[in-house]
């Protein structure tokens, strides 16, 4: 009897140890962190990364417009089947924002979903897309973010319940869903390569436009085919050529001005995306359109 008890305890301890090892928050490999450290960041290029990444959509105050989009107070509420996540303050305030983060801290958060304290961030923050970001873009973004105004708005706790309150479990989720692989693999022509980077990486389009499975992972086999809107406000449209028959020119124009080919205009969260993408170079919007036009038809 005693022996059985010892075996049970030993097995439980072993199981816990395996869980802890498997779910350990990851960081970028040392070689990449060293390379990142050696780069010089450029704030002007970083501003483009900022708009391409859509940071302001969630991290500016919910109703912010114009210059207020550069005050990253947080506060946007993101509804999900697991509860409501509230975007944190990422302004350079050292107490309430991320002013005391190093460049490596930012890189680990963006590409691995790990914060400087070594905790998992929730994938409401799209590190599953940002994992594709180039180190130079991260260095530039870091430099740009430091030029923005500090703001002392305190963070609000996420409105989620057990078991989702246990961040450690996200390590298992990451094993399933965090990948450096492109959804559309292989060598692509130049414009589409840039488009893939913008769409699958910083632009994080798939986070809303690809359906999710029961535990919130993207169904990569149904890439950009549209999804339920977690806010309940309509359905998020599919972007594959079979679903979106706009010309590449029309898509690029929509991303610049918000006008559809019928001259209706973007609403909802997409209006924010258009505001962001209007800051990009015309070639970048054309690259996004080229990538979308070449998606597998649905």
């Amino acid at each position: 009897m005693r022996r059985l008890l010892i075996i049970c305890v030993a097995l439980a301890l072993a199981g816990a140890a395996v869980f802890l090892v498997l779910t350990r928050p990851a960081t970028l490999p040392a070689a990449e962190l060293a390379e990142l450290d050696g780069l010089s960041g450029d704030a002007t290029r970083g501003e483009t990364v900022f708009w391409a990444g859509g940071c302001a959509s969630c991290h500016a105050a919910p109703e912010a417009e114009g210059d207020d989009l550069l005050v990253l107070t947080g506060g946007e509420r993101l509804a999900s089947p697991f509860g409501t996540f509230i975007a944190p303050n990422i302004s350079p305030d050292p107490t309430h924002g991320i002013g005391d983060w190093t460049r490596a801290d930012l890189a680990n958060a963006l590409t691995r979903g790990t914060d400087p304290a070594g905790r998992h961030l929730y994938p409401a923050f799209p590190y599953t897309s940002y994992i594709h970001m180039e180190l130079q873009d991260i260095a530039d973004l870091d430099t740009f973010l430091r030029t923005l105004p500090a703001d002392a708005t305190p963070n609000e706790p996420h409105e989620i319940s057990f078991p989702f309150t246990i961040r450690r479990g996200l390590g298992l989720w990451n094993m399933l869903y965090l990948t450096e692989d492109w959804a559309i693999p292989g060598d692509l022509p130049e414009a589409r390569t840039r488009g893939r980077y913008l769409v699958e990486g910083p632009g994080h389009c798939s986070e809303c436009h690809t359906p999710r499975g029961p535990i919130g992972g993207l169904e990569r086999g149904q890439w950009l085919t549209g999804a339920e809107n977690p806010t309940g406000d309509g359905r998020i449209p599919g972007l594959t050529p079979g679903q979106l028959d706009w010309s590449a020119e029309d898509i690029a124009y929509y991303l610049e001005t918000g006008f559809t080919p019928d001259f209706d205009s973007a609403g909802g969260h997409m209006a924010k995306v258009v505001t962001n993408l209007s800051h990009l170079a015309p070639e970048d919007r054309a690259a996004i359109a080229a990538y979308l036009k070449a998606l597998p038809a649905q």
Partner: protein
């Protein structure tokens, strides 16, 4: 007795029906405004994109239409009870009635953008393209908060 009841029922129906019909007319008028805007923007946007050849007169007529439509006083067009969920076919979010001042300010922003377009329309394709950005921004600023998504 029966006929009194019947008349009362008819009277009650017409009392409730009248505002519904008036509300539907208000919604139809709003949709008409949007269609007029979309039609003119189709001309100007087509020129901006290079799909329609620039024609000064057509551009100015289209811009004048934008200015005219956005000059219309909105106070009679948004009666309560015409929000989405209450009225079929409405995409108007209830938030409109929560902050009428902001809603009106956003309509006035569109009017200002239309006036910018009026100047641009006389200048050429490039100026129209830039002004389309302002108009698009004004459209989206309102749709972002006050219109439900269609898809």
């Amino acid at each position: 007795m029966k006929s009194i009841l019947f008349s009362a029922a008819i009277a009650a129906m017409s009392l409730t029906a009248a505002p519904v019909i008036a509300n539907e007319a208000a919604m139809a008028a709003r949709h008409g405004e949007m269609r007029l805007l979309a039609h003119s923007l189709g001309v100007l946007g087509g020129m901006a994109k290079g799909q329609i050849e620039y024609d000064k007169l057509r551009a100015e007529v289209a811009a004048d239409t934008l200015v005219a439509v956005t000059s219309i006083d909105q106070s009679m067009l948004w009666p309560e009870g015409t929000e989405t969920g209450t009225m079929e076919g409405s995409s108007a979010k209830p938030e409109i009635w929560g902050d009428k001042a902001d809603f009106t300010a956003k309509w006035e922003d569109l009017h200002k953008a239309a006036q910018t377009m009026k100047t641009a329309a006389g200048e050429g394709q490039q100026a129209i393209g830039a002004a389309m950005g302002d108009v698009g921004g004004a459209c989206s600023a309102c749709h972002k908060v006050y219109r439900v998504s269609k898809n």
